[in-house]
Symmetry: C2
Subunit: 381 residues, 2 copies
């Protein structure tokens, strides 16, 4: 099934910023952008059931190819008909290439032109990821959108290191694209392939990389290698530089970013798609994002506070449970605490991107986003 329409439709561009509202069509449904994609590393968003994800209007989740490849493994994924059927999550899924996880293994991996050899964090077994076989793995997963294998350049990197790494990323991108175009889909549904820009914080390298990717004509474009330790101003600079070089008629994805402020600022720089473990991971540590500001729920100030967690974001558990009860649950190590906190943070992120879209469509994004950043960054008292 080849889609008759282009996958992305631009609906509005903000006059005062580069923010965009659009629609991204995939085999498992349409996604209104800008969008935040909760991370379901192992085929499940941590401490969330599918029912709650649907109730929070989450239209797409991310799964990690590295983890799915190791467990349950491509053999099981194929036998089960792909991750959608296996997990019963019937909305869109995006998968990364596995590159980021492998590069995070540091001492357990070795780069070659062919690909990257690494040892499993589970059992130490040796594996090879190539630009071609990560396409095959993502075929087995059956994700709606998948990413080429790239080398996530560490930060800091010298100019020479960054250039060498970026050039490898480009060669791998071409190999991944060719393999994608020459191999069939496994489950009868179309999969989109996105290219990933690298180049560290060097503007000319980033520009060259993105220009060459755009010339290859991917279904969409991502910015990789950011939010890896560089100062925020570099992240914004590289993001803005990258989106300017991307074609307006394709979706733009900033990988692994970030805080609510990062997301609002990067929407203003023309990004359509985001993912990050921050809302789910922070939730499990008791750090909440709320419309009244940031919260460390373990703090004694919440011990007897009979106020709702958040009534404004359309999350039933956040409207029903009190700060005091959530604090008790988190302090007592109760799984229900992780569930409630996760629903709050994911709910806040989903609410934020829905709001952003509305504000882009009605032309009030810039002022609203500045006020919202202040509101969300304040400590809640």
């Amino acid at each position: 099934m080849i889609p008759e329409q282009r996958p992305f439709t631009l609906e509005a561009t903000d006059v005062q910023t580069s923010a965009r509202a659009g629609k991204l069509r995939t085999a498992h449904g349409e996604i209104a952008t800008p969008i935040f994609m909760p991370v379901g590393t192992q085929g499940a968003v941590k401490a969330m059931d599918h029912q709650t994800l649907r109730a929070l209007d989450v239209p797409i989740i991310l799964a990690n190819t590295y983890h799915m490849y190791l467990r349950p493994g491509t053999e099981t994924l194929k036998a089960m008909g792909g991750l959608h059927k296996f997990s019963t999550w019937d909305r869109p899924i995006l998968t990364d290439s596995g590159g980021f996880q492998v590069f995070s293994l540091k001492d357990l991996r070795k780069m070659r032109e062919e690909g990257v050899v690494f040892q499993s964090h589970l059992d130490g077994s040796r594996h090879l990821f190539t630009p071609e076989n990560v396409v095959d793995t993502q075929r087995a997963i059956g994700s709606d959108i998948f990413m080429v294998l790239d080398e996530c350049t560490p930060y800091p990197a010298s100019y020479t290191e960054a250039r060498t790494s970026m050039e490898l990323t480009l060669r791998w991108a071409k190999r991944g694209l060719d393999h994608h175009r020459s191999t069939p889909f496994l489950y009868g549904h179309h999969q989109l392939q996105f290219g990933i820009g690298q180049g560290s914080i060097y503007q000319d390298l980033r520009a060259q990389c993105m220009d060459e990717l755009v010339a290859m004509d991917f279904d969409g474009y991502a910015i990789g290698g950011l939010s890896v330790g560089e100062p925020a101003e570099h992240m914004y600079e590289i993001t803005g530089l990258s989106t300017e070089r991307m074609p307006i008629e394709k979706a733009r994805y900033l990988m692994g970013v970030g805080t609510p402020e990062n997301i609002l600022r990067c929407i203003g720089l023309g990004v359509d798609m985001f993912d990050c473990v921050m809302p789910t991971r922070n939730a499990r540590n008791g750090t909440l994002f709320t419309t009244k500001g940031r919260v460390n729920i373990k703090n004694a100030t919440w011990k007897q506070r009979d106020e709702p967690i958040d009534e404004l974001i359309g999350v039933p558990s956040s409207a029903n449970y009190s700060m005091a009860y959530l604090r008790h649950l988190i302090n007592a190590g109760e799984i229900l605490g992780l569930m409630i906190a996760t629903a709050q943070n994911i709910g806040l992120y989903m609410w934020l991107v829905r709001q952003a879209r509305e504000k882009i469509l009605d032309g009030t994004f810039r002022q609203w986003s500045l006020e919202m950043i202040e509101q969300l960054n304040q400590p809640r008292t």
Copy 2:
């Protein structure tokens, strides 16, 4: 608010066994019996949200006084208006007395006539539970049904030890009852108080204890000190002996029991109420109770089994998710796996007691329960 009716109404007694169907009225709702009460030790059933508990038709949960006393503590519970308001669980709650947990502390507690001195497992701080102050604590919790402080006699115990312990339990029961009758409810709703029989496996001690408790006229009667290591035949013998001495017009509660087979057999011996951590704890270890038999979901046999977990018990997640996906989640340590497995086991227990009630009402309990025990005990293949 003093209830105008007796709290328990007997609706039917099985002809072939001593099984009973009844209704137990509490301040937060009516409970059809026989009933299983999921354990929410710290004010939340582990890996379950309230919404799922309601969807599984759970009419009552149990909370542990020992844990609630230590955290969040009676001060917070009072400030929040009791556990119902604090947790937003608006259905009945039963609390134990804290005795069982304290006696499990072994080296950290010391018995006196006055009560039991113990050290907190959280911070080592010293505390005293008396028959009177556990009533006060359960007032602060605001449970609908609460238990007197008893000494849970360890198994094995000599006759002399068991008698001495049982006599202390009787003196404490009287003190708890007097304190209950002479102190007000805290939140305007009525609380029922149940006495607890002890006496180890000695029939005459069990009989004497229960007879004296019945003479004190509690709202209901429990059997304590079983399922603590004694052979199953002793458990059934003591249970049958105890229910025979209880008045027919009051609810009967077997504490801390047990497997589905234990529950069906003890329903047949005239028990109305059960609680046990087994379904929730086993779920988190990957051990499932299903209508097709027992399952260790970690077993490789389930790796690619695309069959539902259980379609017969009215649990949506069990009907929707496959054995293969649940195995993946449990093996990967995903919280969603704990949630799905817990919903299955609690759902199975709730289905089982609902079925038992129907079979008692239509006079087919005995034969059905024997077949069901066989069905549930078989290993699922």
